[in-house]
Symmetry: D2
Subunit: 346 residues, 4 copies
């Protein structure tokens, strides 16, 4: 029986080549086509020598595939995906183009008018831990952003159980690969090495995505979120710290309350293959190259605040790995297929 | 006229050798004695080849000096300093041993009973921006911790002007040199490189110090602080993000309010040679090797929260540089003497 | 049919845990026992959270296995392996204890008298590209050192073809994980970050190993090797540069000669699954986490010298990956089994 | 008395801003003008926040100065300098435009025909340790390249004493700042971090410069140099390893010979304020931010080769610091003026 054929639009960025790496060893699908505008005509291994054993030439347009992954920048990604959907190809979009349900958000956050607002309703926000059932039947997946993946997974159980207040502080720290492969002074080695900075303090594009999903989990008490991303001197990894006051009367501010919260988290994620609730604060390095998300919860006993720390590899669970997890669900495959590798440590 | 003679107790740690580096070019004092237990008898340049032009031998005990800097670990530092005070030597203590006014805090936070509680009252918390007058006359300075320096300077103007609520979130990111030169798996290169983690979530020793100083600035509304330190893969630098709700009716949640806050900060620090209020978010790299503290304030317009970002070099303004700044004040020298070097960039 | 049972002696070092990572997904063997002295009794996932899905407890002694990997330090490793051999267990030794054929070398290079010199003859130096046939039948494999793997693979074709002189300069640059997990000032983050240094200039322990293998390839012209290792600020990777004068009359000093050398290398490695001869200088990052060795050859046209650059991941092809490659050969499995993952980039 | 006025052409690159940093605290000159094409009109502190205390606006053209430093790229630098010389301004050129005595070398190495070959004869190669007397009287200094500084200082004593053969291997490792501030994939953080690679294997532009100076030191035996630069994951620093056979009959291959060589080096550099001969291999980190060059010599006893290791900060002794050292000599100032700061460690 022939394998499902998959393709990658824009393989030459970091999410694109990470998809290729993971798909190369996936036992149930076959990577048959990859595109990239500037590098079209080159062998994939000439652009990425580490991937030379993937014997594909970069094409200007995607060949015949059953499922397409788009790693295009936003706005262009929708343009690439819509014709494919019309041809019956299923799509997992790594860009932001189908993540937000409210089309007007694209005008305010991304500066363009969405060309296919009707698809926003159909697209499924591809966070399997929240939307697995819908993903099963979807033909268009909006793969979550890297920061939102870490933040939503950190907050979901506490929001769902309604144990925290709506005022939420999210302080995230990301490696530089999250800024992509395009040249910019802010990703220039000598500027970024041995440096930490906060950015997008006026509002990062991942904020509406986080807000949308948290609001869905507890519509009766809409969140008020402050989200601050930071750039840190490492290639991969996101560590997110969330600070939220515990709602009065639900959790006691003591070791019992702390244990009760951990139990809530463990229960929420008990059947999740990629989310693990730890007893000690996680390190991004524990997720390096893997699709796992690690979560730690604790109560600041002096102030009665819940602190949740989560971490992921931004290019795997925060992008390419999660996209493949979504594909596995769409294809009815075991969700972990091709994603079982441990993190590489050290 | 002979120069003031200064000495360093425990020159072999990172704060100690940084003191030596800065004092070496200080035009008004002379570094005449350095101690270090394990390395006693060696030339300073044999332990630290970059400092070979400081022609001193590491001694077991401090020689005759007018001012002593102690870079000993806590508890041992007080033991080293008390006899010096009794001999009439002034002291700047880089350890935590005289920072907390309430002696019982040493039992709960540091696990030892303070041997000279009477000195806690006399010691001046050496943050010149808050206690300059007292420093002038002091014979014992408790040099602030690195995290507290970044946090207190970030918060002081807003607290003093009473424009923010008492619930304060402080999320700090530090380079690895803050963990010192003692060998530990948590400072082992391969474990720390390409990694970020939060630590001391149950309460970091720098919390009572921050709380004490913030409470002093606004005794009528004691703060409730959550402080989370993070270890990040760089050698030097601390970036601190503070999140606080604006008090109702004081600052408008708009560009005017934002400008008004910046004006409050600029006014508060207008005569401070080492604190600079920026118009854009700072990078730790802008402070590398220098005694400067950079601060940025902004309002999260969606939630009405004040965000303050500050950064310092943890070994300079967070330790050795601030200690010399204190010494300059004690000696009646221009405060910037020996501390005027720019940060090294990139 | 039951899988071959394998065990790891001293799983708590970097080579040990890397073996565990790779063996965990190996489809033909089962990791059933891991040991570690200081951590005995703990769950593997408590010591290495990234490996929590390996459900094993660290034991003081190895359980029943068919093949044992030893990641013990030298001298101790032989002590651990000899009883296993006597029980009929095959062994792959990651330490240096069986690499050198001349027992007296252990006295001069490692400072101990070898306890089982008779096994030195039997042990096979586990560089499959040179000794595949012997490995097939071996019960004891001496897994090559990381530097020797990169150096020998870089030199073997040119030595075998007898086109270069015996005077060989090898300048190698290694990531810090090569120095292991034991705490030392030389692996302390703040000392190593943003630093490069040469070390072991009086003679590194990997030199006799390189010399032995190069001499075997061309016994008639024994090599005179200068080998200088360097420590560089990264976790993984070795880049080796070799400089050797071309022997007169064999290769023309022009583009034709350069192409002829590349052809020699390509032919030598044409059936090797893990060695690839590139047309452009390799980057260690192209091998990160993978078992590949990349090689580039060029002639310095001004001087007639051959320059060969090679790189590997020191913990994979330089340690754990090569050990599994050896195991695959011993078991008659396809050599790439469990080792097909691409390098992780970026 | 008014200070000498100095200016920097192209302050917006790494060498340019490093000049500004060092000149800012220089007690005998005043930085009065800085230029930069893309940033003209901006305050220096807006482009480089760490340098905000230098109160200068970036100009399109240099104002009236006594001495100009050019940090322009090659070819453009000569164009900028020649008119200044004609006006009587002295110049220190950080670019390569006046380093090579043979004008035809510019055609072959830099791809342009030199516009002022007559100035090549007049220009002094600004390595003070070799050309101090000529620098004193010069009006045009060709400031050496970073790699040549480390290599020539490593080799000069042995060449001058005629104890080594003409076949010289130079293997250099540089931090990324040496590649400048212009955006390129090869300086993109995620590509360079955790990576080492060799480059310019067909011949690096710094080779003719090294060859020229080494040949001058021993005209009777012209060198045959292989020079391989490497890019390493750090911001600053160059470590150079040189491998050369000892000439027969001059130095014994034993500890006495080794000591004799050290004595030759110590004697050669005995009056040099910035070159230090160490007893142990140097680390680039020992020079971070300082103008020092550290050198270590040893004999590989097995092969009779001399190994010399040297290191510098590529932006200080390898660029801006050396330029100021040259200026000090031209002005008759103590050579160390403004350059006495120790390296920053860690």
């Amino acid at each position: 029986m022939s394998k499902t054929k998959v393709g990658i639009i824009n393989v030459t960025g970091y999410a694109g080549i990470e998809l290729a790496r993971l798909l190369h060893l996936h036992p149930e699908v076959e990577l048959t086509s990859v595109t990239g505008r500037s590098a079209a005509g080159k062998k994939l291994g000439d652009v990425f020598p580490h991937a030379a054993s993937i014997n594909l030439t970069i094409e200007p347009e995607l060949g015949d595939v059953d499922i397409a992954f788009s790693a295009m920048p936003h706005k262009d990604s929708a343009q690439a995906i819509i014709p494919l959907l019309n041809k019956g190809v299923k799509a997992v979009d790594i860009s932001a183009d189908f993540r937000l349900k409210d089309a007007s958000e694209y005008d305010s956050w991304y500066g363009f008018t969405h060309s296919a607002p009707q698809l926003l309703k159909e697209a499924v926000y591809g966070l399997p831990e929240l939307h697995r059932t819908d993903i099963t039947a979807a033909r268009l997946i909006a793969n979550p952003g890297c920061y939102p993946t870490s933040a939503i997974l950190a907050l979901a159980p506490a929001i769902k159980e309604d144990i925290i207040e709506p005022d939420i502080i999210i302080d995230s720290k990301s490696g530089v690969s999250g800024a992509g492969r395009s040249l910019r002074l802010g990703s220039h080695y000598s500027e970024v090495n041995e440096d930490i900075s906060a950015y997008a303090l006026g509002g990062h594009r991942h904020l509406p995505e986080i807000t949308q999903e948290i609001a869905l989990l507890r519509p009766q008490r809409p969140p008020r979120i402050t989200f601050t991303p930071h750039l840190t001197p490492m290639t991969r990894g996101i560590l997110t710290a969330c600070y939220i006051a515990l709602s009065p009367g639900k959790i006691t501010i003591d070791k019992n309350g702390e244990e009760k919260i951990r139990e809530i988290y463990r229960t929420f994620y008990q059947n999740e293959p990629f989310v693990r609730v730890l007893e000690t604060p996680p390190h991004t390095k524990y997720t390096w190259g893997s699709n796992s998300c690690l979560i730690y919860t604790t109560i600041d006993m002096r102030t009665g605040r819940l602190i949740v720390i989560s971490c992921i590899d931004n290019l795997v669970k925060g992008a390419a790995g999660q996209a493949i997890q979504n594909m596995n669900i769409m294809l009815g495959l075991p969700e972990v297929t091709g994603l079982e590798a441990l993190a590489i440590f050290p």
